[in-house]
């Protein structure tokens, strides 16, 4: 899990560095600070388990195994991108890694995850479908309709809320009448579990239980993984709405350094091993960016490819 977290962070840092320097331009919604949840998802889920994430999805996409070269190329909207430059950072899809799609509309991934879970149930596979979303999504009708439906039909779905404390610029507490997202599970008769989302081992533990429950046919679980969005809503967000001391505390508690310290203290990792992991991640990311930046943008005519499976007779 630590390697995954370091790789996500290296990719995020490279993206932010390039954007800040004007080396390239692209849209980007940083998930910096939420790496532990993604790493646990990547560890617990099988490749053929299905994850639906959001526009703030780099961490989930890397952890689920979307190949980093085509992923970076897609974020930079190159023709070699995993989605041919058509999806961009917001709409990554790589079904063969079990990353079905990433949605740009808050809350809309949950009903889709329910449908993916329904397909698994009807076909009698033991795949699990996971919806990953932020606290902001819990205000949408889609959240409530989807959790209700999954609970009603005992679908193999796990709802993973990455509660990063802000929905765009609104603090979670200003947008929900309950204390915690997990409290909402009671309304659907399913387990609601709250966990420290900056502790990958803790997330791993609760996720394992939820995934096993889903796989067994017992139905969905709502997980609330508390975390923090360290770089705001979008790249360049001045974060005026965040108290400085709160942000400073959150940076102190960020999960990558924290997990590294735990692994060093436990003797699982030594300084040399830690350096090796960081060098590996840096090299992977450097190679992905070098390749992607050398690749071209999609040709203009690609705008009309894959609008339909069969374009015969379609409007121009």
């Amino acid at each position: 899990m630590y390697g995954s977290m370091v790789l996500i962070r290296a990719c995020d840092e490279r993206l932010r560095r390039g954007l800040s320097a004007g080396e390239f331009a692209c849209t980007y919604w940083p998930a910096t600070g939420q790496e532990a949840i993604a790493a646990a998802l990547g560890e617990v889920l099988r490749t053929d388990d299905q994850l639906i994430t959001t526009y703030r999805g780099l961490h989930d996409q890397v952890a689920k195994g979307v190949p980093i070269g085509p992923l970076v190329a897609e974020i930079l909207t190159r023709s070699t991108g995993v989605n041919a430059g058509k999806g961009g950072a917001m709409h990554i899809s790589h079904p063969s890694s079990g990353l079905v799609l990433s949605t740009g509309i808050v809350g809309s991934g949950l009903p889709i995850a329910v449908g993916v879970g329904l397909a698994a149930q009807l076909r009698g596979t033991d795949q699990v479908s996971v919806a990953s979303f932020g606290d902001g999504a819990t205000g949408t009708g889609s959240f409530h309709e989807a959790v209700n439906l999954a609970a009603l039909w005992h679908l193999p779905v796990v709802f993973v809320c990455q509660d990063n404390r802000y929905a765009e610029m609104t603090p979670t507490a200003h947008a929900q009448p309950v204390d915690h997202v997990a409290d909402r599970a009671a309304g659907y008769g399913i387990p609601g579990v709250r966990v420290d989302g900056n502790d990958p081992d803790a997330v791993h533990g609760v996720l394992e239980v939820a995934v096993a429950r889903a796989r067994s046919g017992a139905g969905p679980t709502l997980l609330e993984c508390t975390t923090y969005r360290l770089w705001g809503h979008y790249f360049g967000d001045p974060m005026r709405y965040i108290p400085a001391e709160e942000l400073a505390a959150a940076r102190q508690a960020e999960p990558v350094a924290r997990y590294r310290a735990v692994l060093l203290a436990d003797g699982v990792l030594d300084e040399h091993g830690s350096d090796q992991v960081e060098r590996w991640a840096r090299d992977e990311v450097a190679a992905a960016f070098t390749a992607a930046l050398a690749d071209g943008l999609p040709p203009p005519e690609a705008a009309f490819v894959d609008v339909y499976g069969d374009p015969t007779g379609m409007p121009e």
Binding site: V82, S93, V100, I112, G115, V305, D306, G309
Partner: protein
């Protein structure tokens, strides 16, 4: 029936549109284990508010003919997810006005997933819905919103006017690999017509000339086809020979059949029950103007609902909606131009 695509020359039986739709759904469920029906009140004993799915849950089980809570966003979203995972779901939104609640899933996800994924995903979902206009249902249960959907790249839109087309177009939509919106009309469910026995498909993007004529073309679709044919019968007594072109699908749009007919008659009325302003008829009129401007004997005339919500009182609905009389009047107008 003049249409080569609807009949293989086999035996025909008379069915209502309700029966034809039920048959198409039953045949699809029987033919392909990946077909799944999902929506409100579909299962027996209800069998759907208009009994389109009657008997299907009894035959195929409630796993595959699946009742849902009143959750339009989740109905469409779950169908999109199941389609992304390889099934062929047929979702029902009971009344077309309710499409508004499921529109995010349809417009932002179903329509664009193939494109945005660079072809990694396909969403073979069919969304069935029905216009409830004409029976006093009022402003939120009477709208014809097909222009909204035809406007979105990635969606296909089919609208049948007769039972054979209903069966054939619905079957085609279910087995199409892209998202299709299939618009029914409650006023047509009881109408009857000849339907080929057995498996029957009508391709999308192939308009059908429902009545041959030489003087003027009415381009229309769905429920309005019936009014156009009635108007044509009246006008025949006045020695006006009307051709009626039934589009059958708006996307893809069969401009060729429309233009061939209008090039011959040189006069055209475009008609639908949907709001005339910015309706699909404006697109049809635009294409005719672009292609046949110098050959028209009269400007293209559009007939559609007036720009107001649909009141519940019969007087109010009649005031907004087109009718056989208003269609006939529009035809006389272009003929006399």
């Amino acid at each position: 029936m003049s249409d080569q695509a609807t009949s293989g020359g086999g035996p025909m039986v008379t069915r209502s549109m309700r029966e034809a739709l039920n048959l198409a759904l039953g045949q699809a469920l029987a033919a392909d284990p990946d077909v799944l029906l999902i929506g409100e009140d579909l299962a027996d004993p209800g069998g759907g508010i208009s009994q389109i799915t009657k008997g299907l849950s009894t035959r195929f089980g409630t796993d595959r003919v699946r009742d849902t809570p009143i959750s339009e966003a989740a109905i469409v979203g779950a169908a999109v997810g199941a389609a992304a995972a390889g099934l062929r779901p047929v979702a029902e939104l009971m009344i077309m006005d309710f499409v508004s609640i499921g529109l995010d899933q349809l417009v932002n996800h179903a329509a664009k997933a193939r494109f945005m994924s660079g072809g990694r995903l396909s969403i073979p979902v069919t969304l069935r819905t029905a216009v409830f206009g004409g029976i006093g249902s009022g402003a939120t249960h009477s709208q014809s919103l097909e222009a909204w959907l035809a406007h979105v790249p990635g969606l296909k839109v089919a609208i049948p006017s007769v039972p054979a087309d209903a069966q054939g177009l619905l079957t085609t939509c279910i087995f199409d690999d892209d998202p299709c919106v299939f618009v029914e009309n409650v006023a047509l469910y009881g109408s009857t017509g000849p339907v080929p026995e057995g498996d029957h498909r009508v391709p999308l993007g192939v308009a059908d000339v429902k009545r041959n004529g030489t003087d003027v073309t009415i381009v229309t679709y769905g429920r309005t086809v019936r009014d156009a044919l009635a108007a044509a019968e009246q006008l025949a007594e006045e020695q006006i020979d009307v051709e009626v072109v039934d589009l059958r699908s708006l996307v893809p749009f069969d401009a060729g059949t429309v233009l061939r007919s209008v090039a011959r008659t040189r006069r055209v009325v475009v008609a639908h029950h949907a709001t005339r302003f910015a309706g699909f008829g404006a697109e049809v009129a635009g294409v005719i103007n672009e292609e046949l401007f110098g050959e028209l004997e009269a400007p293209v005339r559009r007939v559609g609902a007036r720009f107001a919500p649909i009141g519940s009182a019969p007087t109010l609905e009649a005031s907004v909606m087109p009718s056989v009389a208003s269609l006939a009047e529009a035809v006389r107008d272009v003929v006399g131009h």
